[in-house]
Symmetry: C2
Subunit: 193 residues, 2 copies
DNA sequence: GTCTATAGATCGATAGAC
DNA sequence: GTCTATCGATCTATAGAC
């Protein structure tokens, strides 16, 4: 192989640090100096891994996050099972993603103006895929197609809003409440079949 | 008076520009150069109005926004009237605040790390006051105190989340849907009296 | 109150040795 | 792959004339 195991480890640790920085401070809130401090790597090391600079780092993080969401939220939502099982798997993935409300949302942080358009569209797609998966799962478990999309949109909105409020007010319980309410609302969507 | 009418106009126009910049780009996303370009004022003019620099500008905007929310959302929510009238006045204020979903939320933008703590606490208080007002209005119109807070938190979360999703996906209709749903949920909170 | 000019720090990005 | 050293641009903030 062309890359040593150590390179992979370095790259993985770098990606983790980048993800954590970008999700909490947004694109413009993270400087190259912040990344060197967090990772211990020098400037040139960072530009060796990401020749495209900060833009490429942010896009790599966005793509990684979209893939994670696909594997841990979207796929479990679309997998076999009844309504309750699907929703519970989705909620579990989301709870892990946001660390029980203590971690902010990359999508909310990096869709603000200032981030490269490629990053913003990537994250917009990730969010749409999440909503669509919930919608499809509702329909697959007997919901009326006309109301499924609104219910999916409401659930995801409720969760994203809870993250904003938890951060602004410092009330971590607000996220748990939002997650529980989103779950209950999805389970309660009427079955027409 | 110590200040001429023209000063007041300059100050007001400056505040409007600052509010618009900070709500869309966040604290770190706005540079002094951005403000000079937007307002046409030189650097020293800005520091004449705000000797404390960018931090003082952000705090002034946060306080102004809190006062606006108090006058146009909190007070109308707490004013006399039945449940539906109060909720409708609240929703109207919020719709105006966010320009029908086209304008981002200052609270979401400026409670991110990087903004001065004074700004973050000011906006956290503003958000809490909004939620508390909705809660009090629900109780005053016959809702169970034990469930009123959860319902108020849910409604505000739904609205804030809709703003995030509208921006990330580019779907402006998501905000209108969120606002309508929040209204319906508040009106539907059971009356126990 | 507004201007020009600029200080001092930090920004993203690059060069070249090892 | 990682380092030191540095470039040019931009940042916040200030000085001083008008």
């Amino acid at each position: 192989m062309t890359t040593s195991p150590r390179s992979e480890n370095t790259r993985d640790a770098l990606m983790d640090a980048l993800y954590d920085l970008f999700r909490t401070r947004g694109f413009e809130g993270v400087s190259i100096g912040d990344i060197t401090q967090r990772t211990g790597l020098g400037r040139s090391s960072l530009y060796h891994h990401f020749p495209g600079g900060k833009d490429e780092m942010a896009l790599a993080v966005a793509r990684s996050a979209r893939a994670w969401l696909q594997a841990n939220v979207v796929a479990p939502t679309l997998a076999e099972g009844d309504r309750e099982a699907r929703v519970d798997r989705m909620i579990a993935g989301v709870d892990q993603l946001f660390s029980g409300g203590g971690a902010p949302c990359l999508i909310a942080a990096m869709t603000m103006p200032g981030a490269p358009d490629s990053v913003r569209t990537e994250l917009g797609s990730a969010l749409s895929e999440w909503i669509d998966a919930v919608c499809d799962a509702l329909i697959a478990t007997g919901a009326e197609p006309a109301t499924a999309h609104a219910a999916a949109l409401a659930a995801v909105s409720r969760i994203e809003g809870a993250l904003i409020i938890a951060r602004a007010t410092g009330d971590d319980a607000a996220f748990a409440a939002g997650l529980a309410e989103a779950r209950a609302a999805l389970v309660a969507v009427p079955i027409t079949a």
